[in-house]
Protein backbone atom coordinates (compact mmCIF):
# COMPACT_ATOMS: atom_id res chain seq x y z
CA UNK A 1 0.00 0.00 0.00
CA UNK A 2 1.46 3.32 -1.11
CA UNK A 3 1.40 6.65 0.66
CA UNK A 4 1.19 9.74 -1.51
CA UNK A 5 2.25 13.33 -1.10
CA UNK A 6 -0.72 15.35 0.08
CA UNK A 7 -2.06 18.32 -1.83
CA UNK A 8 -1.27 16.95 -5.28
CA UNK A 9 -3.05 14.32 -7.39
CA UNK A 10 -2.27 10.73 -6.46
CA UNK A 11 0.16 9.38 -8.96
CA UNK A 12 3.08 7.01 -9.07
CA UNK A 13 5.23 10.12 -9.29
CA UNK A 14 3.88 11.37 -5.92
CA UNK A 15 4.48 8.18 -3.91
CA UNK A 16 6.27 9.01 -0.67
CA UNK A 17 6.31 5.61 1.00
CA UNK A 18 4.95 2.10 0.71
CA UNK A 19 4.08 -0.44 3.36
CA UNK A 20 3.46 -4.12 3.12
CA UNK A 21 0.62 -5.46 5.27
CA UNK A 22 0.63 -8.98 6.65
CA UNK A 23 -2.13 -11.54 6.37
CA UNK A 24 -5.22 -10.44 8.36
CA UNK A 25 -3.50 -7.21 9.37
CA UNK A 26 -5.99 -4.34 9.48
CA UNK A 27 -5.21 -1.55 7.01
CA UNK A 28 -7.96 0.88 7.97
CA UNK A 29 -11.07 0.87 10.14
CA UNK A 30 -14.29 2.65 9.36
CA UNK A 31 -17.20 2.97 11.83
CA UNK A 32 -20.43 4.51 10.62
CA UNK A 33 -23.78 5.17 12.21
CA UNK A 34 -26.63 4.10 9.92
CA UNK A 35 -29.97 5.22 11.38
CA UNK A 36 -33.30 4.23 9.87
CA UNK A 37 -36.66 5.90 10.46
CA UNK A 38 -39.99 5.04 8.87
CA UNK A 39 -43.42 6.43 9.68
CA UNK A 40 -46.81 5.42 8.36
CA UNK A 41 -49.96 7.39 8.97
CA UNK A 42 -53.27 5.76 8.03
CA UNK A 43 -55.57 8.57 6.96
CA UNK A 44 -58.38 6.07 6.40
CA UNK A 45 -58.83 2.42 5.43
CA UNK A 46 -57.82 3.25 1.87
CA UNK A 47 -55.43 6.18 2.29
CA UNK A 48 -52.11 6.39 3.98
CA UNK A 49 -49.03 8.52 4.11
CA UNK A 50 -45.51 7.17 4.56
CA UNK A 51 -42.27 8.94 5.25
CA UNK A 52 -38.81 7.61 5.80
CA UNK A 53 -35.24 8.63 6.35
CA UNK A 54 -32.20 6.42 6.26
CA UNK A 55 -28.47 6.70 6.07
CA UNK A 56 -26.62 3.86 4.36
CA UNK A 57 -22.93 3.18 3.97
CA UNK A 58 -21.45 1.11 1.20
CA UNK A 59 -18.01 -0.41 1.68
CA UNK A 60 -17.65 -1.63 -1.90
CA UNK A 61 -17.48 0.70 -4.90
CA UNK A 62 -18.42 -0.37 -8.39
CA UNK A 63 -16.14 1.34 -10.86
CA UNK A 64 -16.68 1.06 -14.54
CA UNK A 65 -15.06 3.14 -17.21
CA UNK A 66 -16.43 1.23 -20.17
CA UNK A 67 -18.71 2.75 -22.75
CA UNK A 68 -21.54 0.39 -21.89
CA UNK A 69 -22.43 -1.72 -18.87
CA UNK A 70 -20.53 -4.99 -18.93
CA UNK A 71 -19.96 -7.96 -16.67
CA UNK A 72 -16.38 -6.76 -16.35
CA UNK A 73 -17.17 -3.92 -13.96
CA UNK A 74 -14.53 -3.50 -11.32
CA UNK A 75 -15.39 -3.64 -7.64
CA UNK A 76 -13.06 -1.86 -5.24
CA UNK A 77 -13.32 -2.20 -1.47
CA UNK A 78 -12.82 0.76 0.82
CA UNK A 79 -9.38 1.10 2.28
CA UNK A 80 -6.63 3.54 3.05
CA UNK A 81 -7.34 5.75 0.05
CA UNK A 82 -10.99 5.02 -0.73
CA UNK A 83 -13.63 5.93 1.83
CA UNK A 84 -16.97 4.15 2.18
CA UNK A 85 -19.74 5.80 0.21
CA UNK A 86 -22.56 7.29 2.26
CA UNK A 87 -26.06 8.24 1.27
CA UNK A 88 -28.81 10.10 3.11
CA UNK A 89 -32.25 9.43 1.71
CA UNK A 90 -35.63 10.93 2.52
CA UNK A 91 -38.84 9.71 0.97
CA UNK A 92 -42.49 10.70 1.20
CA UNK A 93 -45.34 8.70 -0.26
CA UNK A 94 -49.10 8.75 -0.58
CA UNK A 95 -50.95 5.44 -1.03
CA UNK A 96 -54.58 5.08 -2.05
CA UNK A 97 -56.68 2.00 -2.76
CA UNK A 98 -59.64 2.12 -5.13
CA UNK A 99 -62.52 -0.12 -6.15
CA UNK A 100 -62.76 -2.02 -2.91
CA UNK A 101 -59.00 -2.58 -2.84
CA UNK A 102 -58.99 -3.93 -6.39
CA UNK A 103 -56.61 -1.11 -7.38
CA UNK A 104 -53.59 0.12 -5.45
CA UNK A 105 -52.17 3.48 -6.39
CA UNK A 106 -49.24 5.34 -5.00
CA UNK A 107 -47.07 8.35 -5.58
CA UNK A 108 -43.70 8.66 -3.88
CA UNK A 109 -41.01 11.28 -3.99
CA UNK A 110 -37.45 10.88 -2.82
CA UNK A 111 -34.22 12.79 -2.47
CA UNK A 112 -30.76 11.29 -1.89
CA UNK A 113 -27.46 12.93 -1.17
CA UNK A 114 -24.30 10.91 -1.77
CA UNK A 115 -20.92 11.46 -0.15
CA UNK A 116 -17.47 10.00 -0.73
CA UNK A 117 -18.23 8.52 -4.09
CA UNK A 118 -15.48 7.77 -6.58
CA UNK A 119 -15.29 8.70 -10.21
CA UNK A 120 -12.59 7.73 -12.68
CA UNK A 121 -10.34 10.38 -14.15
CA UNK A 122 -9.99 10.89 -17.88
CA UNK A 123 -7.93 8.16 -19.48
CA UNK A 124 -8.13 5.96 -16.36
CA UNK A 125 -6.68 2.46 -16.64
CA UNK A 126 -8.60 0.31 -14.21
CA UNK A 127 -8.06 -3.26 -15.36
CA UNK A 128 -5.39 -5.15 -13.41
CA UNK A 129 -4.21 -1.92 -11.81
CA UNK A 130 -2.84 -2.53 -8.32
CA UNK A 131 -2.68 1.22 -7.61
CA UNK A 132 -6.24 1.93 -8.68
CA UNK A 133 -6.48 4.84 -6.26
CA UNK A 134 -4.27 6.84 -8.67
CA UNK A 135 -7.01 6.60 -11.32
CA UNK A 136 -9.89 7.74 -9.12
CA UNK A 137 -11.26 11.10 -8.07
CA UNK A 138 -13.37 12.09 -5.07
CA UNK A 139 -16.97 12.74 -6.02
CA UNK A 140 -20.33 13.49 -4.52
CA UNK A 141 -23.79 12.94 -5.91
CA UNK A 142 -27.48 13.52 -5.64
CA UNK A 143 -30.60 11.77 -6.84
CA UNK A 144 -34.22 12.84 -6.76
CA UNK A 145 -37.41 11.75 -8.35
CA UNK A 146 -41.06 10.90 -8.16
CA UNK A 147 -42.62 7.49 -8.78
CA UNK A 148 -46.22 6.83 -9.83
CA UNK A 149 -47.73 3.38 -9.63
CA UNK A 150 -51.10 1.74 -10.19
CA UNK A 151 -51.71 -1.95 -9.65
CA UNK A 152 -54.75 -4.14 -10.32
CA UNK A 153 -54.65 -7.21 -8.16
CA UNK A 154 -57.89 -9.01 -8.91
CA UNK A 155 -59.99 -10.16 -11.84
CA UNK A 156 -59.05 -11.81 -15.11
CA UNK A 157 -56.95 -8.84 -16.03
CA UNK A 158 -54.22 -8.03 -13.51
CA UNK A 159 -51.02 -6.08 -13.71
CA UNK A 160 -49.41 -2.78 -12.94
CA UNK A 161 -48.10 0.41 -14.48
CA UNK A 162 -45.19 2.25 -12.95
CA UNK A 163 -43.58 5.48 -14.11
CA UNK A 164 -40.58 7.18 -12.53
CA UNK A 165 -39.27 10.62 -13.33
CA UNK A 166 -35.85 10.99 -11.79
CA UNK A 167 -32.37 12.39 -11.96
CA UNK A 168 -29.09 10.88 -10.66
CA UNK A 169 -26.05 13.12 -10.84
CA UNK A 170 -22.43 13.23 -9.76
CA UNK A 171 -20.01 16.04 -9.21
CA UNK A 172 -16.22 16.17 -9.09
CA UNK A 173 -14.92 19.43 -7.65
CA UNK A 174 -11.28 18.69 -8.34
CA UNK A 175 -8.23 19.07 -6.15
CA UNK A 176 -7.05 22.57 -5.35
CA UNK A 177 -3.39 23.42 -5.95
CA UNK A 178 -2.50 25.19 -2.70
CA UNK A 179 0.39 27.00 -4.37
CA UNK A 180 -1.44 28.48 -7.35
CA UNK A 181 -4.99 28.46 -5.99
CA UNK A 182 -6.21 26.73 -9.14
CA UNK A 183 -7.69 23.30 -9.57
CA UNK A 184 -5.40 20.62 -10.98
CA UNK A 185 -6.92 20.11 -14.48
CA UNK A 186 -6.48 16.32 -14.36
CA UNK A 187 -8.70 16.15 -11.26
CA UNK A 188 -11.60 18.14 -12.71
CA UNK A 189 -14.59 16.70 -14.54
CA UNK A 190 -17.07 18.94 -16.38
CA UNK A 191 -15.71 22.08 -14.69
CA UNK A 192 -16.98 20.85 -11.33
CA UNK A 193 -20.63 20.94 -12.43
CA UNK A 194 -23.14 18.18 -11.74
CA UNK A 195 -23.39 15.69 -14.61
CA UNK A 196 -25.62 12.63 -15.16
CA UNK A 197 -24.32 9.46 -13.57
CA UNK A 198 -23.78 6.47 -15.88
CA UNK A 199 -26.96 4.84 -14.58
CA UNK A 200 -29.16 7.94 -14.69
CA UNK A 201 -32.59 7.30 -16.24
CA UNK A 202 -34.81 10.36 -16.58
CA UNK A 203 -37.92 8.45 -17.68
CA UNK A 204 -38.68 4.87 -16.68
CA UNK A 205 -42.03 3.37 -17.67
CA UNK A 206 -43.03 -0.24 -17.11
CA UNK A 207 -46.35 -1.80 -18.01
CA UNK A 208 -47.12 -5.37 -17.03
CA UNK A 209 -50.45 -7.03 -17.84
CA UNK A 210 -51.68 -10.58 -17.42
CA UNK A 211 -55.01 -11.85 -18.75
CA UNK A 212 -56.54 -15.24 -17.95
CA UNK A 213 -58.00 -16.52 -21.19
CA UNK A 214 -59.48 -19.55 -19.46
CA UNK A 215 -58.69 -22.00 -16.66
CA UNK A 216 -55.52 -23.21 -18.39
CA UNK A 217 -54.27 -20.44 -20.65
CA UNK A 218 -53.18 -16.95 -19.82
CA UNK A 219 -51.42 -14.28 -21.83
CA UNK A 220 -49.00 -11.74 -20.43
CA UNK A 221 -47.31 -8.73 -21.89
CA UNK A 222 -44.54 -6.57 -20.62
CA UNK A 223 -43.59 -3.15 -22.05
CA UNK A 224 -40.51 -1.20 -20.98
CA UNK A 225 -39.58 2.33 -21.99
CA UNK A 226 -36.51 4.06 -20.52
CA UNK A 227 -34.40 7.08 -21.34
CA UNK A 228 -31.18 6.19 -23.08
CA UNK A 229 -28.00 5.83 -21.09
CA UNK A 230 -25.84 8.96 -20.72
CA UNK A 231 -23.01 9.10 -23.21
CA UNK A 232 -20.20 11.44 -24.22
CA UNK A 233 -20.61 12.82 -27.74
CA UNK A 234 -18.17 15.01 -29.66
CA UNK A 235 -18.84 18.68 -30.24
CA UNK A 236 -16.51 18.97 -33.21
CA UNK A 237 -13.26 17.64 -34.64
CA UNK A 238 -9.82 18.90 -35.55
CA UNK A 239 -6.53 17.83 -37.05
CA UNK A 240 -3.34 17.24 -35.08
CA UNK A 241 -0.19 15.59 -36.46
CA UNK A 242 -2.14 14.44 -39.55
CA UNK A 243 -4.77 12.65 -37.51
CA UNK A 244 -8.39 13.64 -36.92
CA UNK A 245 -9.46 13.93 -33.30
CA UNK A 246 -12.92 14.41 -31.83
CA UNK A 247 -13.46 17.38 -29.55
CA UNK A 248 -15.20 16.17 -26.42
CA UNK A 249 -16.24 18.54 -23.68
CA UNK A 250 -18.71 17.18 -21.16
CA UNK A 251 -18.71 13.68 -19.73
CA UNK A 252 -22.19 12.18 -20.15
CA UNK A 253 -23.42 15.34 -21.85
CA UNK A 254 -25.65 13.41 -24.26
CA UNK A 255 -27.77 10.25 -24.30
CA UNK A 256 -28.00 7.26 -26.56
CA UNK A 257 -31.44 6.56 -28.00
CA UNK A 258 -34.28 5.52 -25.69
CA UNK A 259 -34.63 1.87 -24.76
CA UNK A 260 -38.01 0.23 -25.32
CA UNK A 261 -39.27 -3.24 -26.04
CA UNK A 262 -42.40 -5.35 -25.84
CA UNK A 263 -42.47 -8.93 -24.62
CA UNK A 264 -45.37 -11.33 -25.05
CA UNK A 265 -45.93 -14.73 -23.50
CA UNK A 266 -48.54 -17.43 -23.17
CA UNK A 267 -48.71 -19.70 -20.17
CA UNK A 268 -50.36 -23.09 -20.08
CA UNK A 269 -51.18 -24.44 -16.62
CA UNK A 270 -50.84 -28.21 -16.73
CA UNK A 271 -53.52 -30.53 -15.37
CA UNK A 272 -52.58 -32.26 -12.19
CA UNK A 273 -52.02 -35.93 -12.84
CA UNK A 274 -53.12 -36.91 -9.36
CA UNK A 275 -55.76 -35.32 -7.26
CA UNK A 276 -53.41 -35.04 -4.29
CA UNK A 277 -50.47 -33.75 -6.32
CA UNK A 278 -48.90 -30.98 -4.28
CA UNK A 279 -47.04 -29.25 -7.08
CA UNK A 280 -48.23 -27.38 -10.15
CA UNK A 281 -46.43 -27.37 -13.49
CA UNK A 282 -46.85 -24.86 -16.30
CA UNK A 283 -45.37 -24.17 -19.72
CA UNK A 284 -44.51 -20.70 -20.84
CA UNK A 285 -44.06 -19.74 -24.50
CA UNK A 286 -42.73 -16.24 -24.96
CA UNK A 287 -41.17 -13.79 -27.34
CA UNK A 288 -38.83 -11.14 -25.99
CA UNK A 289 -38.47 -7.99 -28.07
CA UNK A 290 -41.57 -8.66 -30.16
CA UNK A 291 -41.08 -5.82 -32.65
CA UNK A 292 -37.31 -6.27 -33.13
CA UNK A 293 -36.25 -3.10 -31.47
CA UNK A 294 -32.49 -2.60 -31.89
CA UNK A 295 -31.86 -0.92 -28.60
CA UNK A 296 -28.50 0.81 -28.57
CA UNK A 297 -25.95 -0.73 -26.23
CA UNK A 298 -23.30 1.83 -27.07
CA UNK A 299 -22.65 4.59 -29.58
CA UNK A 300 -19.13 5.34 -30.74
CA UNK A 301 -17.42 7.59 -33.25
CA UNK A 302 -14.66 6.90 -35.71
CA UNK A 303 -13.05 8.02 -38.94
CA UNK A 304 -14.67 6.76 -42.11
CA UNK A 305 -12.90 3.86 -43.78
CA UNK A 306 -13.41 5.70 -47.08
CA UNK A 307 -10.94 8.35 -45.90
CA UNK A 308 -8.14 6.11 -47.04
CA UNK A 309 -9.55 5.40 -50.49
CA UNK A 310 -8.29 8.43 -52.42
CA UNK A 311 -4.94 10.10 -52.95
CA UNK A 312 -5.50 12.54 -50.14
CA UNK A 313 -6.65 11.42 -46.74
CA UNK A 314 -10.21 12.58 -46.08
CA UNK A 315 -11.58 13.65 -42.75
CA UNK A 316 -15.08 12.16 -42.81
CA UNK A 317 -16.23 10.85 -39.45
CA UNK A 318 -19.15 8.65 -38.56
CA UNK A 319 -21.34 7.61 -35.66
CA UNK A 320 -21.95 3.90 -35.14
CA UNK A 321 -24.41 2.13 -32.90
CA UNK A 322 -23.86 -1.27 -31.37
CA UNK A 323 -27.02 -3.17 -30.34
CA UNK A 324 -27.36 -6.49 -28.59
CA UNK A 325 -30.28 -8.83 -29.19
CA UNK A 326 -31.85 -6.70 -31.89
CA UNK A 327 -34.23 -9.44 -32.99
CA UNK A 328 -37.20 -11.21 -31.33
CA UNK A 329 -36.00 -13.97 -29.04
CA UNK A 330 -38.35 -16.92 -28.56
CA UNK A 331 -38.36 -18.64 -25.18
CA UNK A 332 -39.85 -21.83 -23.83
CA UNK A 333 -39.74 -22.57 -20.14
CA UNK A 334 -41.25 -25.11 -17.85
CA UNK A 335 -42.06 -23.98 -14.34
CA UNK A 336 -43.23 -25.84 -11.34
CA UNK A 337 -44.29 -24.54 -7.99
CA UNK A 338 -44.97 -26.31 -4.75
Amino acid sequence: MNSYKSGIPKDKASVTDSKKYGKNEIIKNYFNFEPRLAIKYAISDVNSLKASYNRTCQYLHRISNTTAPTPLDIWVPTGKHIKPAKVDQIALGYFHNLGNNMFETSVEAYYKKFYDLVEYKYGAHLMLNNTIETELLDAQGRAYGVEFSIRKKEGRLTGWIAYTLSRTEKKVDGLMNNVTGEIFPTTLINNGDYFPADYDKTHDLKVVANYDLNKRWSVATNFILMSGRPATYPYGKYEFQNNTYAHYINRNGARISAYHRLDLSFTYKCKKKKANQNWQGSWNFGITNLYSRQNAYSVYFKESENNWAGNQKGNATEAWQFAIIGKPVPTITYNFSF
Binding site: N191, G236, E239, Y300, N315, T317, W320, Q321, F322
Partner: protein
Protein backbone atom coordinates in the same frame (compact mmCIF):
# COMPACT_ATOMS: atom_id res chain seq x y z
CA UNK B 1 -29.12 -12.40 -33.57
CA UNK B 2 -26.96 -11.56 -30.59
CA UNK B 3 -25.52 -8.25 -31.75
CA UNK B 4 -25.36 -5.83 -34.65
CA UNK B 5 -23.62 -2.63 -35.60
CA UNK B 6 -24.90 0.05 -37.90
CA UNK B 7 -24.01 3.55 -38.90
CA UNK B 8 -26.51 6.09 -37.54
CA UNK B 9 -27.39 9.72 -38.10
CA UNK B 10 -27.04 11.90 -35.05
CA UNK B 11 -27.90 15.48 -34.34
CA UNK B 12 -24.82 16.56 -32.42
CA UNK B 13 -24.55 19.75 -30.38
CA UNK B 14 -22.32 22.35 -31.96
CA UNK B 15 -20.02 24.87 -30.38
CA UNK B 16 -18.08 27.83 -31.64
CA UNK B 17 -15.10 26.86 -33.76
CA UNK B 18 -11.89 26.74 -31.71
CA UNK B 19 -8.27 27.48 -32.49
CA UNK B 20 -6.18 24.34 -32.99
CA UNK B 21 -2.43 24.47 -32.46
CA UNK B 22 -0.24 21.74 -33.96
CA UNK B 23 3.43 22.18 -33.28
CA UNK B 24 6.26 19.82 -32.32
CA UNK B 25 9.72 21.34 -31.95
CA UNK B 26 12.67 19.06 -31.31
CA UNK B 27 16.22 19.66 -30.19
CA UNK B 28 17.63 18.18 -33.38
CA UNK B 29 19.97 20.56 -35.20
CA UNK B 30 19.31 21.69 -38.75
CA UNK B 31 20.84 19.85 -41.67
CA UNK B 32 24.06 20.93 -43.31
CA UNK B 33 24.96 23.27 -40.44
CA UNK B 34 21.82 25.37 -40.95
CA UNK B 35 19.25 26.20 -38.32
CA UNK B 36 16.48 23.66 -37.95
CA UNK B 37 13.11 24.44 -39.56
CA UNK B 38 10.27 24.35 -37.01
CA UNK B 39 6.63 24.43 -38.06
CA UNK B 40 3.42 25.36 -36.25
CA UNK B 41 0.08 24.81 -37.96
CA UNK B 42 -2.88 26.88 -36.81
CA UNK B 43 -6.28 25.67 -37.95
CA UNK B 44 -9.84 25.71 -36.67
CA UNK B 45 -12.08 22.93 -35.48
CA UNK B 46 -15.17 22.08 -37.52
CA UNK B 47 -18.50 20.34 -36.76
CA UNK B 48 -18.05 16.62 -36.30
CA UNK B 49 -19.78 15.39 -39.47
CA UNK B 50 -18.38 18.14 -41.68
CA UNK B 51 -16.12 16.96 -44.48
CA UNK B 52 -14.63 20.31 -45.47
CA UNK B 53 -10.94 21.01 -44.96
CA UNK B 54 -9.92 22.43 -41.63
CA UNK B 55 -9.74 26.23 -42.07
CA UNK B 56 -6.21 27.56 -41.83
CA UNK B 57 -5.66 30.49 -39.49
CA UNK B 58 -3.60 33.16 -41.19
CA UNK B 59 -2.45 36.57 -39.99
CA UNK B 60 -1.88 35.45 -36.44
CA UNK B 61 1.08 36.61 -34.41
CA UNK B 62 3.07 33.55 -33.36
CA UNK B 63 6.15 33.97 -31.18
CA UNK B 64 8.47 31.46 -29.53
CA UNK B 65 9.77 32.76 -26.23
CA UNK B 66 12.53 31.37 -24.06
CA UNK B 67 13.27 31.79 -20.38
CA UNK B 68 16.21 34.05 -21.13
CA UNK B 69 14.02 36.87 -22.39
CA UNK B 70 14.40 36.13 -26.09
CA UNK B 71 11.48 36.10 -28.51
CA UNK B 72 11.49 34.62 -32.02
CA UNK B 73 8.68 35.42 -34.45
CA UNK B 74 7.30 32.74 -36.74
CA UNK B 75 6.42 33.65 -40.30
CA UNK B 76 3.36 32.43 -42.17
CA UNK B 77 4.20 30.60 -45.39
CA UNK B 78 2.26 28.57 -47.90
CA UNK B 79 4.36 25.65 -49.14
CA UNK B 80 4.61 24.72 -52.81
CA UNK B 81 3.20 21.33 -53.69
CA UNK B 82 3.46 19.59 -57.07
CA UNK B 83 0.05 19.55 -58.77
CA UNK B 84 -0.13 16.79 -61.44
CA UNK B 85 -3.11 18.54 -63.10
CA UNK B 86 -1.04 21.67 -63.71
CA UNK B 87 2.34 20.00 -64.09
CA UNK B 88 4.15 22.32 -61.74
CA UNK B 89 4.41 23.30 -58.12
CA UNK B 90 1.63 25.49 -56.80
CA UNK B 91 0.95 27.07 -53.46
CA UNK B 92 -1.28 24.83 -51.37
CA UNK B 93 -3.27 27.16 -49.12
CA UNK B 94 -4.57 24.21 -47.09
CA UNK B 95 -1.04 23.53 -45.89
CA UNK B 96 -0.27 27.08 -44.76
CA UNK B 97 1.88 27.15 -41.66
CA UNK B 98 4.10 29.29 -39.44
CA UNK B 99 7.82 28.68 -39.73
CA UNK B 100 10.91 29.44 -37.70
CA UNK B 101 14.51 28.48 -38.35
CA UNK B 102 16.31 28.02 -35.06
CA UNK B 103 18.22 25.37 -33.15
CA UNK B 104 16.79 24.98 -29.67
CA UNK B 105 19.19 25.37 -26.77
CA UNK B 106 19.49 22.56 -24.21
CA UNK B 107 18.36 23.27 -20.65
CA UNK B 108 16.28 26.15 -21.93
CA UNK B 109 12.58 26.53 -21.38
CA UNK B 110 10.26 27.67 -24.18
CA UNK B 111 6.67 28.85 -24.51
CA UNK B 112 4.61 29.61 -27.59
CA UNK B 113 2.58 32.82 -27.71
CA UNK B 114 -0.25 33.30 -30.20
CA UNK B 115 -2.47 36.27 -30.92
CA UNK B 116 -5.23 35.82 -33.49
CA UNK B 117 -6.78 38.62 -35.58
CA UNK B 118 -9.82 38.77 -33.31
CA UNK B 119 -7.57 39.78 -30.44
CA UNK B 120 -7.58 36.52 -28.51
CA UNK B 121 -4.26 35.67 -26.92
CA UNK B 122 -2.91 32.29 -25.98
CA UNK B 123 0.27 31.01 -24.40
CA UNK B 124 1.52 27.47 -23.96
CA UNK B 125 2.84 26.08 -20.72
CA UNK B 126 6.62 26.18 -20.48
CA UNK B 127 8.62 23.14 -21.52
CA UNK B 128 12.31 22.57 -21.18
CA UNK B 129 14.71 21.03 -23.67
CA UNK B 130 16.08 18.38 -21.32
CA UNK B 131 19.71 17.46 -21.76
CA UNK B 132 19.15 13.71 -21.34
CA UNK B 133 22.44 11.81 -21.42
CA UNK B 134 21.31 8.38 -22.61
CA UNK B 135 20.14 7.09 -25.96
CA UNK B 136 18.52 3.66 -26.18
CA UNK B 137 20.27 0.68 -27.66
CA UNK B 138 18.68 -0.75 -30.82
CA UNK B 139 18.75 -4.42 -31.79
CA UNK B 140 16.88 -6.89 -33.98
CA UNK B 141 15.08 -9.99 -32.88
CA UNK B 142 13.84 -12.81 -35.08
CA UNK B 143 10.54 -14.37 -34.01
CA UNK B 144 9.36 -17.79 -35.04
CA UNK B 145 5.70 -18.40 -35.73
CA UNK B 146 3.97 -19.04 -32.44
CA UNK B 147 0.49 -20.36 -31.73
CA UNK B 148 0.36 -18.27 -28.57
CA UNK B 149 1.27 -14.97 -30.15
CA UNK B 150 -0.39 -12.69 -32.71
CA UNK B 151 3.02 -11.69 -34.11
CA UNK B 152 3.90 -12.83 -37.60
CA UNK B 153 7.17 -14.67 -38.13
CA UNK B 154 9.98 -12.32 -39.04
CA UNK B 155 12.38 -9.68 -37.84
CA UNK B 156 11.34 -7.11 -35.26
CA UNK B 157 13.14 -4.00 -34.07
CA UNK B 158 13.66 -3.83 -30.32
CA UNK B 159 15.38 -1.33 -28.13
CA UNK B 160 16.69 -1.07 -24.61
CA UNK B 161 16.07 2.30 -22.99
CA UNK B 162 18.39 3.53 -20.30
CA UNK B 163 16.55 5.28 -17.53
CA UNK B 164 18.28 7.85 -15.39
CA UNK B 165 18.40 7.11 -11.65
CA UNK B 166 17.54 10.68 -10.71
CA UNK B 167 14.47 12.64 -11.67
CA UNK B 168 11.18 11.73 -13.35
CA UNK B 169 11.43 11.35 -17.10
CA UNK B 170 8.85 10.66 -19.77
CA UNK B 171 9.61 9.30 -23.22
CA UNK B 172 8.19 8.35 -26.54
CA UNK B 173 10.02 6.37 -29.16
CA UNK B 174 9.51 6.21 -32.88
CA UNK B 175 10.99 3.96 -35.51
CA UNK B 176 12.32 5.48 -38.76
CA UNK B 177 13.21 3.74 -41.97
CA UNK B 178 15.92 4.84 -44.39
CA UNK B 179 15.05 4.22 -48.04
CA UNK B 180 17.65 4.54 -50.74
CA UNK B 181 17.06 5.02 -54.43
CA UNK B 182 18.90 6.15 -57.51
CA UNK B 183 17.95 9.55 -58.90
CA UNK B 184 18.12 9.29 -62.71
CA UNK B 185 17.18 12.90 -63.36
CA UNK B 186 20.57 13.25 -65.09
CA UNK B 187 21.02 9.85 -66.77
CA UNK B 188 24.72 10.44 -67.16
CA UNK B 189 25.16 11.26 -63.50
CA UNK B 190 22.84 9.13 -61.42
CA UNK B 191 22.81 10.13 -57.77
CA UNK B 192 22.28 7.78 -54.88
CA UNK B 193 19.73 9.43 -52.65
CA UNK B 194 18.12 8.42 -49.41
CA UNK B 195 15.13 9.66 -47.51
CA UNK B 196 13.84 8.96 -44.07
CA UNK B 197 10.29 8.45 -42.94
CA UNK B 198 8.41 7.42 -39.86
CA UNK B 199 7.67 3.68 -39.81
CA UNK B 200 5.72 3.20 -36.60
CA UNK B 201 3.35 4.67 -34.07
CA UNK B 202 4.81 6.05 -30.88
CA UNK B 203 5.74 3.81 -27.99
CA UNK B 204 5.66 5.33 -24.52
CA UNK B 205 7.61 4.81 -21.36
CA UNK B 206 8.66 6.49 -18.17
CA UNK B 207 10.95 5.71 -15.28
CA UNK B 208 8.01 6.66 -13.05
CA UNK B 209 5.45 4.19 -14.32
CA UNK B 210 7.54 1.32 -15.50
CA UNK B 211 10.87 -0.31 -15.00
CA UNK B 212 13.08 -1.02 -17.96
CA UNK B 213 11.84 -4.61 -17.91
CA UNK B 214 8.18 -3.54 -18.16
CA UNK B 215 8.54 -0.95 -20.93
CA UNK B 216 7.12 -1.51 -24.38
CA UNK B 217 10.34 -1.98 -26.24
CA UNK B 218 9.42 -3.75 -29.44
CA UNK B 219 7.86 -2.18 -32.51
CA UNK B 220 4.99 -4.19 -33.98
CA UNK B 221 5.99 -3.89 -37.63
CA UNK B 222 7.84 -6.72 -39.29
CA UNK B 223 11.03 -5.53 -41.00
CA UNK B 224 12.86 -7.13 -43.89
CA UNK B 225 16.44 -8.07 -44.60
CA UNK B 226 18.80 -5.41 -45.91
CA UNK B 227 16.56 -2.60 -44.73
CA UNK B 228 17.90 0.17 -42.51
CA UNK B 229 16.29 1.64 -39.42
CA UNK B 230 16.97 3.85 -36.45
CA UNK B 231 14.97 5.02 -33.46
CA UNK B 232 14.33 8.51 -32.18
CA UNK B 233 13.85 8.88 -28.46
CA UNK B 234 11.89 11.98 -27.44
CA UNK B 235 12.24 13.19 -23.86
CA UNK B 236 9.00 15.03 -23.16
CA UNK B 237 7.20 16.81 -20.35
CA UNK B 238 4.67 14.97 -18.23
CA UNK B 239 1.79 16.93 -19.78
CA UNK B 240 2.93 15.96 -23.28
CA UNK B 241 3.18 12.30 -22.24
CA UNK B 242 -0.39 12.33 -20.87
CA UNK B 243 -1.74 14.13 -23.93
CA UNK B 244 -0.09 11.83 -26.48
CA UNK B 245 -1.24 8.73 -24.60
CA UNK B 246 -4.83 9.96 -24.46
CA UNK B 247 -4.65 10.89 -28.15
CA UNK B 248 -3.43 7.39 -28.99
CA UNK B 249 -6.24 5.92 -26.91
CA UNK B 250 -8.79 7.96 -28.82
CA UNK B 251 -7.34 6.85 -32.17
CA UNK B 252 -7.37 3.21 -31.09
CA UNK B 253 -10.82 3.31 -29.49
CA UNK B 254 -12.99 0.88 -31.38
CA UNK B 255 -16.07 1.80 -29.40
CA UNK B 256 -16.75 -1.70 -28.19
CA UNK B 257 -18.52 -2.28 -24.94
CA UNK B 258 -15.13 -2.83 -23.31
CA UNK B 259 -13.67 0.45 -24.53
CA UNK B 260 -13.25 3.33 -22.11
CA UNK B 261 -15.48 6.34 -22.71
CA UNK B 262 -13.93 9.17 -24.71
CA UNK B 263 -11.97 11.82 -22.89
CA UNK B 264 -11.33 15.44 -23.85
CA UNK B 265 -7.75 16.03 -25.01
CA UNK B 266 -6.79 19.01 -22.87
CA UNK B 267 -4.42 21.35 -24.54
CA UNK B 268 -1.41 23.13 -23.06
CA UNK B 269 -2.32 26.25 -25.03
CA UNK B 270 -3.97 28.42 -22.40
CA UNK B 271 -6.16 31.35 -23.27
CA UNK B 272 -4.82 34.47 -21.61
CA UNK B 273 -7.68 35.93 -19.60
CA UNK B 274 -9.78 32.81 -20.06
CA UNK B 275 -12.27 31.80 -17.41
CA UNK B 276 -12.29 28.04 -17.80
CA UNK B 277 -10.56 25.16 -19.55
CA UNK B 278 -13.14 25.49 -22.33
CA UNK B 279 -11.55 28.80 -23.34
CA UNK B 280 -8.21 27.16 -24.13
CA UNK B 281 -7.20 26.20 -27.64
CA UNK B 282 -7.19 22.61 -28.90
CA UNK B 283 -4.18 20.60 -30.00
CA UNK B 284 -0.79 20.85 -28.31
CA UNK B 285 2.56 22.53 -28.54
CA UNK B 286 5.32 20.02 -27.89
CA UNK B 287 9.00 20.48 -27.17
CA UNK B 288 11.12 17.37 -27.05
CA UNK B 289 14.79 16.59 -26.63
CA UNK B 290 15.83 13.94 -29.09
CA UNK B 291 18.40 11.20 -28.89
CA UNK B 292 18.94 8.82 -31.80
CA UNK B 293 20.15 5.28 -31.88
CA UNK B 294 22.69 4.10 -34.39
CA UNK B 295 21.37 2.98 -37.77
CA UNK B 296 20.83 -0.75 -37.87
CA UNK B 297 20.78 -2.88 -41.00
CA UNK B 298 18.73 -6.06 -40.94
CA UNK B 299 20.88 -9.02 -41.92
Amino acid sequence: MTGCEKQIELDLPSVESKLVVDGWFTSEPGENRSERLHIVRLTQSIPYFETENYPVVKDAVVILKDNKGNAFSLTFRVPLVYDPNVGEEVADEKKGRYELRKNLDPNTSYTLYIKTVDGKEYESTAQMVIDYPYAPKIFVEYKEEDDFSDDDEGYYINFEPKYSEEGNFYFCWQLFKIESYTDWYDPENPVETSYIYSYSDLLFGSNVYTSVEESETQFDQVVMKDEKYFIKQHVIARGVYDFLRLAEEQRDNEGTQFSPPPAPLRSNIKRIGGHSLDDDALGFFIISAVQKTEVISIN
